[in-house]
């Protein structure tokens, strides 16, 4: 299993001007790692839709790479997104799923068929150009550069150590760098010239 921040550090080094869209427990992890927050937007308003939002952005900005860090429970909630994305074949879309086997944000309850279903397998059969699965950081580090230069849509399943949140929601500490999604979108639009 991989510590998600360690994997994200590898991606951050390679991201170039990519726009990064994390969701769920990936949000806080990415905030610890990112060096370019104006090109990041956390998409959590409707569970499961981060990758679908990424598709729209990828189609609108075909010369910019879009990286999404999806949750495994989130992806299960919107599995159809794999067919939708595969159908449009965005060359610039890199769809990571952070497979921790649980709904980490809500206390770590197991997701359906945890550990048995293959997200990479489903993505591959749905029609993604390529689909990978890693549970070893070194292996990922070796291949990350070439994967992020492949033609998309590319799917990358990373088996991560769960970060289970058990504090009542009102008592959870906000990450000091966290921005409301609405504000992050304003910053991104300014950054890419679409405001």
């Amino acid at each position: 299993m991989i510590e998600q921040r360690e994997m994200m550090k590898v991606v951050e080094k390679l991201r170039g001007d990519a726009i990064v869209l994390p969701t769920m427990t990936g949000n806080g992890a990415w905030l610890d790692v990112t060096q370019n927050q104006d090109r990041d937007v956390s998409i959590g308003g409707a569970m499961g839709k981060a990758s679908t939002f990424a598709l729209g952005l990828a189609m609108a900005q075909p010369d910019t790479n879009i990286i999404v860090f999806d949750g495994d429970g989130s992806l299960e909630m919107n599995l159809g997104t794999l067919a939708t994305i595969a159908g449009k074949k965005p060359k610039n879309l890199y769809h990571f799923v952070l497979e921790n086997g649980v709904y980490g944000t809500t206390g770590g309850q197991p997701i359906p068929s945890a550990g048995e279903l293959s997200f990479a397998g489903i993505a591959r059969e749905a029609g993604y150009k390529a689909a990978y699965e890693f549970d070893d950081l070194e292996e990922f580090t070796l291949q990350a550069d070439s994967i992020l230069n492949e033609e998309g849509p590319v799917f990358v399943c990373i088996k991560i150590v769960p970060e289970v949140q058990n504090e009542p929601i009102g008592r959870r500490k906000r990450h000091p760098k966290a921005r409301p999604t609405k504000d992050a979108l304003v910053a991104l639009r300014k950054e890419i010239g679409t405001s």
Binding site: V41, G45, A46, M47, G48, K49, A50, T52, F53, A54, L55, G56, L57, A58, M59, A60, Q61, N78, G80, T81, A83, T84, G87, K88, T181, K182, L185, L188, R189, I192, G193, T194
Partner: protein
């Protein structure tokens, strides 16, 4: 029953889309919009984005808007029910000008309908705080332009209901 002339022509819808600079139609078809779908596919200025589930349409549209494009969502009222959390968490909460063209399945002018899809449509939009317009025939089609104007001026989603009782968009 005597046959009637189609009163809402799918070509009128395409004209409205073009007039409003629509770049993408994010859609999950229904029987009412079948012919419209064919026309859109043939129209080179429109990129049709088929989705697997209606709740995806608002998310795709949001990404397109942020990226500088001008999408419209095309779904049925049943699909609008399915999309509840996307409409709430994306279109409403993020204040995005997402125009949704929604086939009003079960709609009748006199208001009596056995179809719960129709009976719940307007209460649902009221519950979500969505503004909506009804388009029944060609003469109403400029309500789509009004919807676009208001959506972009106020950064808010707006619904345009398609209530063609007899024909939908069939030939």
């Amino acid at each position: 029953m005597a046959s009637q002339q189609a009163i809402l022509n799918p070509a009128t819808m395409i004209e409205e889309f073009k007039k409003n600079g629509v770049s993408h139609v994010v859609a999950l078809p229904d029987s009412e919009t079948n012919f419209l779908y064919e026309l859109m596919d043939a129209e080179s200025s429109l990129d049709v984005v088929p989705v697997a589930r209606e709740g995806e349409t608002m998310a795709v549209a949001a990404g397109l808007i942020v990226g500088g494009k001008r999408p419209v969502c095309l779904i049925q009222n049943t699909g609008m029910f399915e999309s509840g959390d996307s409409i709430r968490g994306i279109a409403v909460d993020l204040g995005l000008p997402i125009v949704m063209i929604v086939g009003y399945r079960g709609w009748t002018r006199h208001g009596v309908t056995p179809d719960s899809a129709a009976r719940f449509t307007e209460p649902y939009m009221d519950a979500w705080g969505l503004k909506y317009y009804l388009v029944e025939r060609d003469e109403d089609a400029d309500r789509i332009s009004i919807a676009f104007e208001e959506a972009y001026e106020n950064n808010t989603p707006i619904v345009v209901l398609i209530g063609d009782e007899y024909h939908g968009f069939n030939r």
